[in-house]
C-alpha cells in the first residue's frame, strides 16, 4: 500500500494560471469547498509571461468596436472551424471580465479620458487589447492571485497531478506528488477543472516553460475524454533566435502593433508580397497607410505585419528558405525606424515596450531603439485541447471540466493574439461556476484503491531503474528534436509517418527512464514522469495532423498546400480506444445559427 495524504474538496482545480485562478474564485463564490493545485509556486504560471494584452471589445479607443466585430475577427482568424458558440460567448463576456479585473485592483494603461487603453494586435480589426505596457499577463495573474487568496481557497503549490481517478464513468479524484518532499497526495473531489495550459515543451524551439508538457490534455485523454483540433499548433512568428541560449523566447506582437516592421536581408518589407484573399480588403497596400494605422488613424488599414500569426510565420520561413534571411536564420524586426517618424522615438519605444527593451539589452546585448532584432518562429500555443461543452466547459467525461489553453474550441485553426488572456478568464469563470453546480448535486463516490496503487507504482519506477536507466532529459530532447523536424511549421505525410514510427522507440526509452537520488525535490524524477504526457500529446498532434489533408491556420501541409472547403466541415477528434490505442475521428461542425452567419457576412 502506497503512503499518501488525503485532501477532500468539492471542486478541485488543477492549474493556477489565469484560467485556474478564475475558476477557483468562481467555484468558491458558488459556495463549495475548493482546492487549487499547481506545479510551480502561486503566481508563476505561464499566464505571468503574457505580454501584449487582453482582447475585449470595450470600444474605449474605437467606438466602432463591439462583440460582433470581435466574434467575426475570431472566427476569421480561426478559419471558421472554431466552436462558434464559444467564440460568441467569449466576445460577449470578455468586456465584463476585464472590467471585473479592474474592480479587483488591476491597473491598466489609460486613455486620455481615463478609461482602459486598448492597442492594435494582429487580426483584430480595431484597437482592442487592454494592456499594461508589455507585462499584461503579470497584471492579470497578480490581480487574480491577490483577490483569490482572500476567497478561502485551499492552495497546494508545487504539486503535480499524474492521474485522474474514476468511479464508473465519472471523475472522483486526482492523484499526484508534491515536489518538496516527493510525497504522494490524493485529492477526492466531486468535480475537477483542468486548467493546465499548453504543450510547447514537445518542441525544441518554444516560448513555453518546463510546465508546458501537456499534462491536462493527457490526464483528460487517459480518463477517456475527447481531444479536438490537436493538429492546430501556433508557431509565433517572432521568437528570439540569437544568441542560442535564448532561442525561442517570445518577442511580443506589440512590437509590430507599435509600428515595428519585418524586413529581409535585402531590407525589403516582404510582408507586402503576399496578402491572403480573405484579408485583402482590410490590409494596407502601402507602407504609409500601414504606419498611419499603427498611429491610430481610423481611416487607415492595418499593415501586413499584423496579419495572423500562421501567415506571418510562413512568410518568414519562405524568406529564409529563399536565402533572404538574417545571419542566424531568421529575419529582421525593426522598431528603431520609428524614430524617423516620432519625436523622442527612443524614449517612446522604451516606454511602450519596456520589457522587450530590457530583454534584448540584457540577453542579446542589443538596443532595440537603435538596431533591428533578429527573430524567427517559435512554438507558442496550442489551439487544440480537451473538447468541452461551450456553455459549461464540461468535457465528455461527467464531472471533468477544462478551461484555458488546455481546452479547445474558441480558437479554431489559429488564435488571435490577446484572445487567450480573455479566453482564460471568460471560460475559467464558466468552468468554475458549472463545476460548483455539478459538485452540489453529485452523489458521493468511492475512490478505487487499485487505481491509486497502480499510479503510485508507476510513479516510483524511475527510482527502481536508477541511474542505469535512460536519462529522462535525453529522451525529452530526442522527442523535442523529432517533433520540431517532422511535425513543425511545414508538414508532409511522409515526415509525420516517420514521427509516428519514431514515437514507439521513444516510448520504450521513456519506460526505461531512470533517476538517482531520492524523492525530495528531484527534477530528474519529475522530468521522467512528464515524458508520458509529452509523448501522448505528440502522438495526438501527429495523428490529427496526418488526418487533416489540407492547409488551414496553424496547420500547413506542403503536400496539401491549399485550404479545402470539405475539411472546413468538421473537427478532428482523438480519444483512447479499446486496448489503449489512439483513435482518430471526424466530428461534423454543427450548423451556425442564422444570426451569427449574418454577422460574419456583414463583417466580411
Amino acid at each position: 500500500m502506497p503512503e499518501y495524504q488525503t485532501h477532500e474538496h468539492d471542486v478541485l482545480v488543477i492549474g493556477a494560471g489565469g484560467a485556474g485562478l478564475r475558476a477557483a474564485i468562481e467555484a468558491s463564490a458558488g459556495g463549495v469547498s475548493v482546492g487549487l493545485v499547481c506545479k510551480s509556486l502561486l503566481g508563476k504560471a505561464h499566464t505571468v509571461m503574457a505580454e501584449g494584452g487582453i482582447a475585449a471589445a470595450l470600444a474605449n479607443v474605437d467606438d466602432r468596436d463591439n462583440w460582433k466585430v470581435h466574434f467575426a475577427d475570431t472566427m476569421r482568424g480561426g478559419q471558421y472551424v472554431n466552436n462558434w458558440r464559444m467564440a460568441e460567448l467569449h466576445a460577449k463576456e470578455a468586456p465584463e471580465r476585464v472590467r471585473e479585473l479592474e474592480a479587483w485592483g488591476a491597473v491598466f494603461d489609460r486613455t486620455p479620458d481615463g478609461r482602459i487603453l486598448q492597442r492594435n494586435f494582429g487580426g483584430h480589426r480595431y484597437p482592442r487589447l487592454a494592456h499594461v505596457g508589455d507585462r499584461t499577463g503579470l497584471e492579470l495573474i497578480r490581480t487574480l492571485q491577490d483577490h483569490g487568496i482572500h476567497q478561502g481557497i485551499d492552495v497546494h503549490m508545487e504539486c503535480t497531478i499524474v492521474t485522474l481517478l474514476k468511479d464508473g464513468g465519472r471523475v472522483v479524484g486526482a492523484f499526484g506528488y508534491e515536489r518538496e518532499r516527493g510525497r504522494f497526495k490524493l485529492f477526492r473531489a466531486k468535480a475537477i477543472v483542468l486548467a493546465t495550459g499548453g504543450i510547447g515543451r514537445a518542441y525544441k524551439i518554444t516560448s513555453n516553460s518546463w510546465e508546458y508538457t501537456g499534462d491536462g490534455h493527457t490526464l483528460a485523454y487517459d480518463a477517456g475524454a475527447e481531444l479536438v483540433d490537436m493538429e492546430f499548433v501556433q508557431f509565433h512568428p517572432t521568437g528570439m533566435i540569437w544568441p542560442p541560449s535564448v532561442r525561442g523566447i517570445l518577442v511580443t506582437e506589440a512590437v509590430r502593433g507599435e509600428g515595428g516592421v519585418l524586413r529581409n536581408s535585402e531590407g525589403r518589407r516582404f510582408m507586402f508580397d503576399e496578402i491572403p484573399e480573405n484579408y485583402r480588403t482590410q490590409t494596407a497596400d502601402n507602407e504609409e497607410e500601414g504606419w498611419r494605422y499603427t498611429q491610430g488613424d481610423k481611416s487607415a488599414r492595418r499593415p501586413p505585419e499584423l496579419l495572423t500569426r500562421d501567415h506571418v510565420s510562413r512568410c518568414i520561413m519562405r524568406e529564409v528558405k529563399a536565402g533572404r534571411g538574417s545571419p542566424h536564420g531568421g529575419v529582421f524586426l525593426d522598431i528603431a525606424w520609428i524614430k524617423a517618424r516620432i519625436p523622442n522615438g527612443a524614449e517612446h519605444i522604451k516606454k511602450k515596450l519596456p520589457s522587450m527593451y530590457h530583454q534584448f539589452k540584457q540577453l542579446a546585448d542589443l538596443d532595440i531603439t537603435q538596431e533591428p532584432m533578429e527573430i524567427g518562429p517559435t512554438t507558442h500555443y496550442i489551439m487544440g485541447g480537451v473538447k468541452v461543452d461551450a456553455d459549461t466547459q464540461m468535457s465528455s467525461v461527467p464531472g471533468l471540466f477544462a478551461a484555458g489553453e488546455c481546452a479547445a474550441g474558441i480558437n479554431g485553426a489559429n488564435r488571435l493574439g490577446g484572445n487567450s488572456l480573455s479566453d482564460i478568464i471568460v471560460f475559467g469563470k464558466r468552468a468554475g461556476e458549472f463545476a460548483a453546480r455539478f459538485a452540489k448535486t453529485a452523489p458521493s463516490a468511492a475512490v478505487d484503491a487499485r487505481q491509486i496503487d497502480e499510479a503510485a507504482r508507476t510513479a516510483l519506477e524511475p527510482f527502481e531503474r536508477g541511474t542505469g536507466g535512460e536519462g529522462p532529459y535525453q529522451v525529452q530532447y530526442a522527442l523535442q528534436e523529432m517533433m520540431q523536424d517532422l511535425v513543425g511549421i511545414v508538414r508532409t505525410e511522409s515526415e509525420m509517418q516517420r514521427a509516428l514510427e519514431g514515437l514507439g522507440p521513444l516510448r520504450a526509452r521513456a519506460n526505461r527512464a531512470g533517476v538517482g537520488g531520492h524523492r525530495e525535490y528531484n527534477p530528474g524524477w519529475h522530468a521522467a514522469l512528464d515524458l508520458h504526457s509529452l509523448l501522448t500529446v505528440s502522438e495526438a498532434i501527429a495523428r490529427s495532423a496526418i488526418e487533416r489533408r489540407e492547409s488551414r491556420g496553424g496547420h500547413f501541409r506542403d503536400d496539401y498546400p491549399n485550404k479545402d472547403a470539405s475539411f472546413g466541415m468538421f473537427n478532428i477528434i482523438v480519444r483512447k480506444g479499446r486496448e489503449g490505442r489512439m483513435e482518430v475521428s471526424r466530428a461534423p461542425i454543427p450548423e451556425m445559427p442564422d444570426e451569427l452567419k449574418r454577422i460574419i457576412e456583414e463583417m466580411k
Binding site: S40, L41, L42, G43, K44, H46, V48, M49, R99, E102, A103, W104, G105, V107, R110, D113, G114, R115, I116, L117, V132, G133, R135, G137, L138, E139, R142, D146, I149, H150, E180, S209, W210, E211, W242, P243, P244, S245, V246, L250, S355, H358, Q359, Q362, L363, T467, P472, Y473, Q474, Y477, V515, G516, G517, H518, E520, Y521, N522, P523, G524, W525
Partner: protein, 248 residues
C-alpha cells in the same frame, strides 16, 4: 568549446556543501543555462526553480558570487569565468534542497495585508476613470515579479530574522501599491506600524539595489509609507525623525 567551473551548493535543511561542476560555455549563456546543462548531463537531481527564462516570473532567484540575482538574467560574460562561479540559494530563507528555498512565509505575509477596497464606480456602467499620470506610481510597484531577492538582502530579515515582526520590502511595496491605488479606500497605516513593522526599515536601500525590476523600493514605496504612518498616527519620535530627514 570553452568550459567553466560552477561551484554549486548542494544540500538541504540538514546542511550541505559546495560541489564543483565543469560545463561547456557558449555565446550568450546565462547562469541558469549552465545549471540546466549540469542538471541534464551530470546531476539529474540538482534542484532549481525556474519558469520563464526571461526575467518575468521571479522563480530563479539565487546568490551568484554572493550577489542576489535572477539566474536567467545573469549573463556568463558578466562574470569572471577564470574563477569558479559560486551559486547558492537565497540565504534568508530556509533551504529545501540545493538552490530551492522555502519561501512560503512570503505568501502568509502578503495575506496579512488588507485587501484592495475600491470606491464606488465613477460611471453608471460600473467603471472608473483614472488618469495615466495618477496610475504610473502604482504601476511601478505592480511590476514586482515576487522574486523575493529584496527580502533576501534585507538585514532585518536576513540577519535579525524578524520574520514575525516585519513583512519585508516586497510586501511594503505591495502595501504601497494598495495605499496609492487611486481607487482604494482602505487605511493600512495602523497595521503597517503595529504588525507589519515598517519602522524596522532603516533605509539602507539594499533592497532597491537588487530589484531586477528596477523598482525604487525605498524612496518611492517605503519612505512614503513611513510618512503616512507618521502623519496619521502622530508618533512624536518618528515625527522628529522625519523632520531631521527632510532638513537639508
Amino acid at each position: 568549446m570553452a568550459t567553466a567551473t560552477f561551484r554549486i551548493w548542494r544540500g538541504d535543511a540538514q546542511g550541505g556543501k559546495f560541489q564543483d561542476y565543469q560545463t561547456g560555455v557558449s555565446e550568450g549563456m546565462v547562469v541558469l543555462d549552465a545549471v540546466h546543462q549540469i542538471q541534464a548531463d551530470q546531476a539529474n537531481d540538482l534542484a532549481v526553480r525556474w519558469n520563464c527564462k526571461a526575467g518575468k516570473c521571479g522563480s530563479c532567484s539565487a546568490e551568484v558570487n554572493g550577489d542576489p540575482r535572477l539566474m536567467c538574467m545573469t549573463r556568463l560574460n558578466q562574470l569572471d569565468l577564470a574563477q569558479p562561479v559560486r551559486i547558492e540559494p537565497m540565504r534568508a530563507f530556509p533551504p529545501i534542497r540545493d538552490l530551492v528555498t522555502d519561501v512560503l512565509w512570503n505568501f502568509g505575509a502578503k495575506k496579512s495585508i488588507r485587501r484592495f477596497t475600491p470606491r464606488p464606480p465613477d460611471a453608471p456602467d460600473g467603471t472608473w476613470r483614472m488618469a495615466q499620470v495618477d496610475v504610473e506610481r502604482v504601476q511601478e510597484f505592480r511590476k514586482c515579479i515576487e522574486c523575493f531577492l529584496c527580502q533576501d538582502v534585507c538585514h532585518v530579515l536576513r540577519e535579525h530574522r524578524l520574520f514575525d515582526e516585519f513583512i519585508g520590502p516586497r510586501h511594503l511595496v505591495y502595501a504601497a501599491a494598495l495605499e496609492m491605488h487611486p481607487l482604494d479606500t482602505e487605511n493600512r497605516a495602523r497595521d503597517l506600524k503595529r504588525t507589519h513593522g515598517v519602522g524596522y526599515c532603516n533605509i539602507t536601500k539594499c533592497c532597491t539595489n537588487v530589484c531586477p525590476e528596477g523598482i525604487t523600493i525605498t524612496d518611492n514605496a517605503i519612505i512614503p509609507l513611513k510618512e503616512r504612518v507618521i502623519d496619521q498616527l502622530y508618533d512624536p519620535v518618528a515625527k522628529l525623525f522625519r523632520m531631521l530627514r527632510r532638513s537639508p
